[in-house]
Symmetry: none
Subunit: 74 residues, 4 copies
DNA sequence: GTGGTCTAGACCACA
DNA sequence: GTGGTCTAGACCACT
């Protein structure tokens, strides 16, 4: 999960800001020198961690920097 | 094919009647919250199923409520 | 041909530069307060005068400022 | 439908043989100088004509050189 | 002002 | 790395 962690780090350090669009999966694959599938697996990981949000046909966006937030309702 | 099936359902349930004009593709796109191209793919599907008929420059109309049905005997 | 002439003027005065993209036909129609058809007729006029070039699915672009140029070959 | 017809011609003239794999949609888009979506529309057309068969994740293949033909006797 | 075609480029699913 | 689906938005053709 080197790709996922690398991107997660960027988000947590604020290098990628909330709402910002990530490079496309193809671009990321090239940048990291890995296959598209590997990038997609990393994206899935980050999506499940709640760090990014993918929008079909548009792109994937940074969603939250870190804290679970626990805004249950209130 | 959620859009196509949703509209097909309306036609089959008689909520959209024979000869009735559907909203424009642009309106449908807004209503369903999708891009116009997605609506057009759905329209193509329905056209091929024989449920609607599109007239260039005019609109698209309900053509049949149900399949051929072939209830010949019985 | 008020729309065509207005845009032609802009091109000739250099307010619209070579290679620049014009607003979409829809936007132009709104800006001039006319129907889309009127804009399209104006675009056709300008295309025939060699002032603009339309690219399907992309946009229409300024092509030449004015002179017929007569670059026959040489 | 220039792309569809061009490829259909190749198939019918036997330049593309039964079972042969076509270039990828991306390659065809480059070869014909059109967008991939345009190639896909052409492929859909050819699929419906029964000339090709697309396999998700693998490629698209020539299926028949000619229509059913019905050369039963003779 | 509608449907028709196209661009450019994203994410998705499969093998 | 291919085909599959989608976005957003342009010009085209018709009525």
């Amino acid at each position: 999960m080197v790709v996922a962690n690398h991107i997660a780090g960027k988000i947590e350090r604020g290098e990628l800001k909330l709402g910002q669009r990530l490079p496309s999966e193809l671009d990321l694959a090239e940048q990291y020198g890995v296959a598209r599938m590997t990038v997609r697996r990393a994206m899935k990981e980050l999506r499940e961690r709640g760090l990014i949000r993918s929008v079909h046909g548009k792109g994937t966006y940074v969603q939250q920097p870190d804290p679970p937030a626990e805004n249950v309702d209130r």
